[in-house]
């Protein structure tokens, strides 16, 4: 038997990832790869909107009313300068898409982040503390689960509006993100609670408690890593759902403030022009929204299958 050479290091985490099942599954799934590419492109354009966009649609000085209502470049009367056409104020649709996607993605991701933190935290608490705390949190989960997320988001938003009628824009964003987050935290709480309860009864946890390790340390160091897989899958799918919820709220007029239009707002604005035949003002933001949601959903689906040990 050879002794392992002392200088050979264990493969790095990155190396192990690329050798592992998840990466293999990814490379073998053309759908997942395509979805990842699309998602990446969208996120990139959204994040770097000011640099990627040909125009800045929110700089009022640069708008030219004479260029209003132009169809996309490939149609009659279209111009190459405004690739996807313009709206009634002369704003370039393509640029508006990127800026709008930026807002949509920002709100979506922020609310999911909040959801995850709150949900995982509460789930850990419920699973670990047990007893009345657990029962109470689960009751709340049950009640919240029976309400559809859109309704919860609408209510919070409505209440926010009523409480702060002259709110600053930032506050409006805060309320919106909070509303969407509130409608989504329950799934994480439940999943994490289940796993925590399983881990809690394991001997190494009991041993740690006997030694006197603080409970929260146990929770974070041991339970959390085991739970991150399903949480990651849930979070990915939730980002798509959050983006759609935000778009819906903005479309209904109770989402982002009108000064920072998201894709939903753009669709709402464009809706008014549908009947006069200027379809591009509403359809292109719609396509962008669907692309983002679809690619993120596909990634989430693939991730769930890749991380599911039973399907391997």
């Amino acid at each position: 038997m050879n002794m392992p050479s002392p200088t050979a290091a264990a493969p790095s985490a990155l190396r192990r990832f690329f050798d592992g099942d998840v990466w293999y599954s990814f490379r073998n799934s053309p759908v997942a790869m395509l979805a990842a590419v699309i998602a990446f492109v969208c996120v990139f354009c959204a994040a770097f909107a000011p640099w990627v966009s040909p125009h800045n649609p929110f700089d009022l000085a640069s708008l030219n009313l004479a260029d209003a209502r132009l169809p996309p470049a490939w149609a009659e009367d279209g111009q190459m300068r405004y690739l996807l056409g313009t709206d009634d104020q002369g704003r370039d649709i393509l640029s508006a898409l990127f800026y709008g996607a930026r807002i949509s993605l920002a709100v979506g991701m922020a609310s999911v982040l909040l959801s995850v933190v709150a949900g995982v935290g509460l789930g850990l608490l419920a699973g670990f503390a047990g007893g009345k705390v657990d029962a109470f949190i689960m009751r709340v989960c049950d009640v919240m689960l029976s309400f559809p997320s859109i309704l919860i988001a609408l209510l919070i938003d409505g209440v926010g509006r009523a409480l702060f009628p002259n709110a600053h824009d930032t506050l409006a964003f805060g309320v919106l993100i909070f509303a969407i987050a509130l409608s989504g935290w329950v799934q994480y709480a439940r999943t994490v609670r289940g796993s925590t309860m399983v881990e809690r009864n394991k001997e190494y946890v009991q041993a740690a408690r006997v030694i006197g390790v603080a409970p929260w340390r146990i929770m974070f160091r041991h339970v959390l890593p085991n739970v991150m897989g399903p949480v990651l899958v849930l979070a990915t799918i939730q980002v798509a759902a959050a983006i759609l919820t935000e778009a819906t709220l903005s479309f209904l007029g109770v989402g982002v403030p009108p000064t920072s239009p998201s894709l939903g707002t753009l669709i709402r604005i464009g809706n008014d022009f549908l009947f006069s035949g200027e379809w591009w003002i509403t359809i292109f933001p719609g396509v962008m929204l669907v692309l983002i949601a679809l690619s993120v959903n596909l990634l989430g689906d693939w991730l769930r299958d890749a991380l599911n040990p039973r399907l391997r």
């Binding site: 559809p148 819906t248 209904l252």
Partner: protein, 330 residues
């Protein structure tokens, strides 16, 4: 069995009280309850009088009890936006929403369940993959966008179907108690697009659920044993597998009915369908608290009722829940 029903009823009451509490908080502390009840044009005298009548100086539990008492009778005051009684407004709009939700539920079930079964049985096949991709699309398209697209195609471009409103309605039972669009051709034409729009999300969800459940069931030992006994495919799939698949599907679908009513908010807005959802949106935009509170309570009631019925249904379908003690012997 009796214990189970009682326990569920108790839970239902608890939920309703919690919701009532939230609605009460809305009513009292968001905006002015006196204005909520009297509308914005009341005089100072009327306000003073009402303040005394309402006992706004009374302790909190008393006020809450009064609120609940009123709520149970359907009394939520006047709409801030329209100045009419909230209960009247909601009563007018309820049939429209209910018809829409039911139509969408029927579409979602009739299309979703068979497609889900197909996708499970023909797993990996081309048709199945197409179905699954379409279902993913269904979950990725926001409801309002589906509505807009349908309007674009069928109303603007093809001009086959109308794009807003409910069309001609007929009042049942004499008076204006319940108006229905189901008895006129025009009503049906108006119902088609909104019902499809509302059903898409549910359809995709049901499809994926049925498929997932069926795939799980197909892996069980009893299906394996059924096959090992040489039962025909039809008996194995539609006899054994399907029945076991549908049991959890029933529960989830029942719960979805409640969320359909909520999602109707969006659909009604896009199609200007005169239902409760549209009313609610206008209330949120206007910060019309009484309407919001009333809607909240009504939705909670519907949810709780639907949950209860689904639980009872589950009981009826799954024999394991019915009998408490297994017979002994080896």
């Amino acid at each position: 069995m009796l214990a189970f029903v009682l326990r569920r009823l108790l839970q239902a009451v608890v939920v309703m009280l919690t919701v009532a509490f939230l609605a009460f908080m809305l009513f009292q502390y968001v905006g002015d309850p006196v204005t909520n009840l009297l509308g914005q044009d009341a005089t100072q005298e009327q306000r003073e009088q009402l303040r005394r009548d309402l006992g706004l100086d009374q302790p909190f539990p008393v006020q809450f009890a009064r609120f609940v008492g009123n709520a149970v009778q359907g009394e939520f005051g006047l709409s801030l936006r329209q100045g009419r009684k909230v209960s009247t407004l909601i009563a007018e709009r309820f049939p429209a929403t209910l018809e829409l939700a039911l139509a969408a539920a029927v579409i979602a079930l009739v299309v979703g369940v068979p497609l889900g079964v197909y996708a499970a049985l023909r797993r990996g096949g081309f048709g199945s993959q197409v179905v699954m991709t379409l279902s993913l699309l269904g979950v990725s398209l926001p409801t309002f966008l589906i509505g807009i697209l349908l309007i674009l195609f069928f109303a603007v471009i093809l001009k086959w179907l109308p794009s807003f409103g409910r069309g001609d309605t007929v009042a049942l039972f004499g008076g204006s108690a319940w108006t229905t669009g189901l008895l006129t051709l025009d009503g049906w034409k108006h119902l088609v697009l909104p019902a499809i729009t509302l059903s898409v999300f549910q359809l995709a969800l049901i499809l994926r659920l049925v498929r997932a459940e069926m795939l799980e069931v197909l892996r069980t030992d009893y299906v394996k044993f059924a096959r090992a006994r040489g039962l025909e495919d039809r008996a194995v799939y539609f006899g054994h597998a399907l029945k076991n698949t549908l049991v959890p599907v029933i529960t989830i679908t029942g719960l979805q009915l409640g969320s359909l009513i909520a999602f109707a908010i969006i659909t009604e807005t896009v199609f200007q369908w005169p239902g409760m959802g549209f009313l609610f949106i206008q209330a949120v935009q206007f910060a019309d608290v009484p309407v919001m509170a009333a809607y909240l309570c009504l939705i909670a009631l519907i949810f709780v009722l639907v949950n209860l019925i689904v639980d009872l249904l589950y009981f009826a379908v799954d024999p394991r829940l019915r009998i408490e003690r297994p017979a002994g012997g080896h």
